[in-house]
Symmetry: C2
Subunit: 355 residues, 2 copies
């Protein structure tokens, strides 16, 4: 699932006008929403990018080669941006957010590398994945290197609280990856397990990134918790929307690939909900397609028709809106500021998507 | 290379009387040498084993299943023993060594899991490897989990200096793994690169384990450095001897497998030295066997004959003795104690082996 996040970032390139309560914001795209953030923390982001490049260095040439390939391959730096925006909104005016934003990106990149190996992925962000180009072995080992480097960056920062947050997040992410693996191609996976995976694999690092900003700003516990709640719920909403978009008619109209998850047998919420409402014949269909991976080209249309009949894309989007509302609620704990507005806009964009 | 370490521990089950300077010590086996250590720190080791079991826990059942399989699969806990012995010798009488010894073992275990995936190994310590039993995917992910858990244990301890030591060691280990991968099946690998790999993959964690004992005992910098030097040189000697034993006639006489490294095309010091002294025809032989992996059953005999002609096993053992002498020298920085004696005995056993 985590691996879909960045694709979602790339996929979400158009959007409409969404209602943000008091005011109408024109969020033309996630890029647009991120641009607003980048405009606020642009200098910091440039410094983080430089730190990322500097810290990929190793006398072992293959490490910077592979690391550069994935780190520089079009990621939107969403997680580092959350660290930077959170730190600025919370009033930190030192430089601690920079190294920690780089550390968060390194943890994310390490999980991407291992995720692609585990998923046998050949594409990431529309280009050949690192494991496809360099092989699985270097991908495993360079992932390990980046993970270690992330902890070196945290040690350099010197906060045991940050180390606690990110070592816990790293363990939870790994648990989520194993849980997803255990549930893969299993159509009996229920919504609770699906949400456990999303929370662990995707939302936990969003949450940690946001919390860190409040920690470096030395904000009180309730502020840290509000930032963490915002990140957690944003992360869940993001992943739910991403999973819906994989079956999206709007995507199809834009000429984008639809049904990648279906072809790979991934058990996402639209499927979980459809299986829960299926009759015996439909359950057989889902098992054949997603467990046995025995599919004909027409099966995707059948799957889409079943989802439409049971309204599972609508239900999944409703769930996403619910988590988005929770993220918004958490953010409204803070006083108005340009950073708060930018963080609220990201939520609104995410859950306001046409699908 | 790292993966051979534990096999060596199992393989080194017989030994003679070796000269330890002033006194004759009867070190019947590495097990015997470790037994002396275990006798000194037995309560601590039991506590570490309990911590290891407790910290493998996860609600995701596959994690403790796989972790238990590898953690409990006959490892000698050599690295945790070094932490415990070092801490005790240096005078630490608190309990900090316990969690940190468990953290070191978790880092080691994580690297074993990833190592076996990268090497496509099907055996570890004489039984099916975790990736063979559970598959590569869970091995990668549970390795990540154990690595994260190691950092959680360090955070719980609360020493930034220890976090610095082990995050640095983790990055160096990963660099060593990548360097070894880049040099694999490459007969032009020279002794300097081989030693870089051994230092990074094996010796760095030995060194970190020993240094941590001096850190928790709040010993001055020169004591920490002496412990680190002991561990580093012991680790190098250990790996060199292990690589020699893979071609050992003594092993063969005991009915043990000989030539595993040769069959896998591993470039270890006996080979590096033989290639350096080879004529054109011999170089062709080494390339065919170790780069192309085009071997007949007779080729191992030819390889052994070439090593004997060029004396490369003797030379490699002489190198090991040199590093062993450095380890001994570093240890003699400390005042005599039962722990010091046990740590010296391990060196003597290691380099005194018949091969």
């Amino acid at each position: 699932m985590l691996c879909l996040m960045s694709r979602a970032v790339n996929q979400l390139v158009d959007a409409g006008i969404v209602d943000d309560g008091d005011e109408k914001v024109d969020v033309r795209s996630l890029d647009g929403a991120l641009d607003a953030l980048v405009a606020l923390v642009g200098d910091d982001l440039a410094a983080v990018n430089q730190l990322i490049v500097d810290n990929m260095h190793s006398p072992v040439a293959l490490i910077p080669q592979l690391a550069r390939y994935i780190v520089a391959s079009g990621g939107k730096r969403l997680r580092p941006l959350l660290v930077l925006a959170s730190a600025r909104m919370c009033g930190h005016d030192g430089g601690r957010q920079l190294g920690l934003a780089a550390a968060v990106e390194f943890i994310h990149t390490a999980t991407l590398l291992h995720d692609d190996v585990v998923d046998n992925s050949d594409l990431r962000r529309g280009k050949a994945s690192a494991n496809e180009v360099f092989g699985n072995k270097p991908s495993v080992l360079v992932g390990d290197f980046l993970f270690a480097r992330a902890f070196q960056l945290m040690v350099r920062d010197g906060s045991l609280e940050v180390l606690d947050i990110l070592s816990n997040a790293s363990a939870v992410i790994a648990e989520g990856e194993v849980l997803q693996l255990a549930a893969s191609n299993d159509t009996t996976t229920d919504e609770a397990v699906y949400l456990d995976v999303v929370r662990a694999k995707t939302a936990e690092l969003f949450s940690a990134a946001c919390r860190i900003g409040a920690v470096v700003a030395a904000r009180p516990a309730e502020d840290r918790q509000a930032m963490a709640d915002y990140g957690l719920n944003l992360g869940i909403a993001f992943q739910l929307v991403d999973d819906v978009l994989d079956y999206s008619a709007a995507q199809a109209r834009l000429g984008k690939a639809v049904g990648d998850d279906f072809r790979e047998g991934k058990i996402t919420l639209p499927v979980v909900l459809a299986v829960a409402l299926a009759d015996e014949e439909e359950r057989h269909f889902w098992r054949r397609c997603l467990e046995d991976l025995d599919q004909t080209p027409e099966d995707l249309d059948r799957a889409l028709a079943l989802m439409a009949r049971h309204g599972t894309l609508d239900t999944a989007m409703a769930r996403a809106r619910d988590y988005g509302a929770r993220a918004t609620q958490a953010m409204l704990h803070f006083a108005p500021s340009p950073e708060r507005q930018a963080l609220l806009d990201i939520v609104q964009f995410c859950i306001g998507r046409d699908y």
